[in-house]
């Protein structure tokens, strides 16, 4: 356990990591980058806070985004009440200037509970932060996005904020300083009154089209309803969902709720794979804000090629089965590696 000077915490920005498994989420790393930007204006320190029991990859991840302080509050369960019980006294005692959470379901709950226990003001869905002299002014959206509000706290030492995903991006930093880890262990005597009966991983096929991260969409180039079997397989392998263009749903090859485009669902997933879709304007408008677009088409001059980040010219019926094989092989290799690592550790 490393001692840190506690008086300096008042000049700190803390970011609570979503890191139950010893690996921080991309959204938490993005928040650390934003915290570093804000801290630079006022010569403050940034400290990451984790409830994880093990450090796992945290050190390397923090180093990569230029953060060299980590506060660990190891938690024996994944209950938010006990997480708040661990964090609240530390926040009250050290009074960081700003405490940031990713606006996940658990992040929001811990933030609100800590706010309740420490009387620090909470700003949900913050979109922008700025300094005005020594005050932190936070912008948040109001009334379902119809207004935005700038707020600040006159007399509280700490401001707590939750930030939605994809507002900031993680920025790599050239700071190779060693990460100093402080571990605080405390007994929490929060009574457990909620019993978890079961936990199931969200299957993309059961989510709405605009909620999934990966969409494998098919157009008339797929050829038939049977042709969509391969697309379904690829979508399953990538934990995504199948999408379709208007003519495909009109043909009845897939259900209408898979329709992507102006008259269907407007989507912006992390990855959009367009198979046999030429790219009519109505379709492009519905998917062009996707982070990465990959197109597979026999026609190299199809309009989709103008939008795609990567365009494969070829027959999708040959490429997709091979892609599934490569993905499966990769997954097997990763699983074997993980098993080998576990055996080596234990």
């Amino acid at each position: 356990m490393t001692e840190l000077s506690q008086s300096s915490a008042a000049g700190q920005i803390w970011v609570v990591l979503d890191s139950a498994t010893g690996k921080a989420d991309t959204s938490s790393l993005a928040l650390l980058s934003e915290a570093r930007r804000l801290a630079a204006y006022r010569q403050l320190d940034v400290q990451a806070v984790s409830f994880s029991k093990e450090q796992g990859e945290l050190r390397q991840q923090l180093q990569a985004v230029g953060i060299n302080k980590l506060l660990m509050l190891p938690q024996s369960n994944s209950d938010v009440t006990s997480a708040a019980a661990l964090l609240a006294p530390v926040v009250a005692e050290r009074a960081p200037k700003l405490l940031l959470f990713a606006a996940t379901v658990t992040g929001r709950e811990i933030a609100a509970r800590v706010s309740g226990r420490t009387d620090a003001p909470l700003v949900t869905c913050a979109t922008w932060f700025q300094w005005r002299e020594d005050k932190m002014v936070v912008t948040q959206s109001l009334f379902q996005g119809r207004a935005s509000q700038r707020v600040y706290s006159e007399n509280s030492a700490t401001t707590i904020a939750t930030v939605q995903d994809k507002i900031y991006l993680p920025i790599q930093a050239a700071n190779n300083a060693e990460v100093v880890v402080e571990i605080l262990t405390a007994e929490t005597v929060e009574e457990q009154r909620i019993k978890v009966l079961c936990e199931a991983i969200n299957i993309a096929a059961e989510l709405a089209l605009d909620e999934v991260d990966v969409i494998v969409a098919g157009g008339m180039g797929v050829g038939s309803a049977e042709g969509f079997d391969q697309l379904h397989k690829l979508a399953t392998a990538l934990n995504g969902r199948v999408g379709a263009s208007r003519r495909v749903t009109d043909q009845g090859w897939v259900a209408i709720d898979n329709l992507v485009g102006q008259t269907g669902t407007v989507v912006s997933p992390t990855l959009y794979i367009a198979c046999g879709i030429s790219g009519a304007p109505q379709h492009l408008i519905g998917m062009c804000d996707s982070e990465t677009i990959i197109a597979i088409n026999t026609d190299r001059n199809a309009p989709i090629s103008q939008v795609a980040d990567l365009m494969l010219v070829g027959d999708l019926h040959e490429i997709i089965p091979r892609m599934i094989e490569v993905i499966e092989a990769r997954k097997r290799k990763t699983t074997q590696l993980q098993i080998a690592q576990k055996e080596a550790c234990g």
């Binding site: 690996k23 606006a103 304007p281 804000d289 990763t334």
Partner: protein, 291 residues
Amino acid sequence: MKILVYVRQIFGAGFNPVDPVNKCINDQGAWFQHHPKDERAVEQALRLKDAVPGSELTVVGIGPERVEADLRGYLSVGADKAIRIWDDALEDMQLEDCMCATLLEALLRSGEITCDWLLCGDDEMSTVAIHLAELSKRPLATAVSGVASLDGDGEGLLRVKRRLEKSTLTLALSAPAIVAVERGDALRYPKHSDRLRASQQDIGVVALESLGLAAQGLRDKRRLQVDAITSPKPTRKIFPAQGSGSSRVVDLYLGGVGGGGNKQIVEDSVDNMAELVVEKIDRATHGGLSS
């Protein structure tokens, strides 16, 4: 089984509440509607009520007289009672979530109403349910997508589904507890006769005094000062960022306003293309295939 649902009113679709000159909220001439997530919470509560005979469903709102229209809407679809918390002293106060939670907690404590289950709508901005759970020490489930009674009469146990980012949890929750509903079926439509009945029903108004609260005490709970309220910047950019998918669509159909981007066209053997595309997928999903 006694169910209480906390409901809110929001500005009606299409109404712009921002006064651009004074940078504050201007609700003159405003119209209001149900909060869409509260509608889902009421529907879940109605289903619980239907499943367990003899249940009582009360809706509670915080706000001036206009809130009664909202409450009557819920009375017409099957709520038994409605309560409005309001006091003239609250007129000029912008209520933060923690202040609303204080009012609701005082209502539960005052004995004006008893409830086994308190439901409310949940979204990424709302923290009333969480603050209320902290104040009342009741167990809480947020981001709920489904509620069902576990023991038939629904007195003691509920089965609740929570949708987190990556997984769905099924919980057993024991009364009294708070359930914040995010997803679920849309609210049912009322019959015309029920609308007429609801329009005549009494709505009890609870003032601060009967809750044992003082206006100043509540005012002191406000921790944030508002600097300015403005209209949000438009999210749809007329000239999208260089290299983004939207810029290329603009390029394609409007003729060269956006940027060329980093597009790559590959024509190769199937094996090579498959390797290349899987590598690209791995990068695009931030190592999703190798973790």
